[in-house]
Amino acid sequence: MPTYRELLQQVRAEIAEIDAARGRELVDRGEAIIVDVREQDEWDEGHIPGAVHISRGNLESRIERAAPDPTQPVVLYCSVGNRSAFAAKTLEEMGYEDVVSLAGGFTDWKRNGHPVELHSGLDAPRRARYSRHLLIPEVGEQGQLRLLDSKVLLIGAGGLGSPASLYLAAAGVGRLGIVDADVVDESNLQRQIVHSTERLGEAKVESAKRTIEALNPDVQVVAYKERLTSENVERILADGWDVIVDGADNFPTRYLVNDASVWHGIPVVHGSIYRFEGQVTVFKPGAGPCYRCLFPTPPPPELAPSCAEGGVLGVLPGVIGSLQANEALKLALGIGEPLVGRLLLFDALSAEFNEVKLRRDPDCPVCGEHPTITDYIDYVEFCAGTREPA
């Protein structure tokens, strides 16, 4: 049986090695995939810029994701060039045609004064908290860092805002703004799961903030204890938001959110619920229709009952608000196909989803080619039907 030294010598004789200077050329040229096969703590202390990290133990299972094309050049490195030699042998056995190991490893790389990227990623507690995200290739560490750096504004801390805020907080969205003027009422608790019996009478934004911060201290909650109006919308949006989750309970706010989002270019994840049915879509300015393209004119109040008047199955906002969180996370991560130009309908009684297409209206008064509404209007009056829509 060969000793480790003998085995290493044998493997090094079978694979191709390059020195740090040649490694630098390949890194600068950007054609090769640079793979760091060291352990997480070694990677965290610094690595070659542009490298991907796949520890030796995960090499076989994860290399295909980093290097799907076996003809693409791969440079492997570790601390001194031993583990990467074995790794190179493995990749050759897997069919990779152009694999080299960096002789002298990261140690020689640093000694020769080549650039080093310090790790600015997740610390150990965060890696543990978000481990199930890190395992998903579409999220991973970069995606999680993106979530921690993203800012989502929730309109309403009620039926839809409850599950949406909880899931966004759990996912590690770094900043959540919540706009709601109400206090927690007994009739809310049948569905508004971010609140609790002990919070009765407390401002909803404060109650939600406490629940969210207990769930995930990574999340900073910005509480706006006010109703969104034409007067405060600019101040609230000035705090900088990547995505708006609209869970409002009235038409004036829906139209106000729409107009503001179009003018600011912020995507809105729209959800609405009534009794057993809900709707979800994404209004992404420039990429699809807006709320006014879908519903140019609000129905008169007497023809549009709210949940307070008509009721709602408690779990329904759980379904719709969770779908909104799903869309918001996709938008924040830049993955998947958000519900842009598609309205998803859910019927809790038949347990059916339906989808209809939404198209941009070139004559839309706000997002159309020749907009006629270019500043905030009196939305209450607009929705009271006393004013003809433009």
Binding site: G156, A248, S272, L294, N354, K357, R359
Partner: protein
């Protein structure tokens, strides 16, 4: 005969029915048939979007959009509820 899906906000006007059969070759015919049987719908329909096979009829031929037997027709008024 085409089945028209009635949204929850319009069911008070249709005796609680979730789906209604309607006669006609165009969207206008279908809606006329429905309002003849459920006159209370008439005030609501101007505020409801109509989808045939998932397409908004405003992007097709509007009320003159043809429907075939078995087409999926959905009425969709705006709902504001979120709380």
């Amino acid at each position: 005969m085409t089945t028209v899906r009635i949204p929850p906000t319009l069911r008070e006007q249709t005796g609680g029915q979730r789906e209604l059969p309607a006669e006609g070759d165009t969207v206008r015919d279908l809606l006329d048939d429905l309002t003849s049987r459920f006159p209370a719908l008439e005030d609501q329909l101007p505020f409801a979007n109509v989808y045939v096979e998932g397409e908004d009829v405003r992007t097709l031929d509007g009320l003159e959009t043809e429907v075939r037997p078995g087409s999926t027709v959905i009425l969709l008024p705006a709902m504001a509820g979120g709380a």
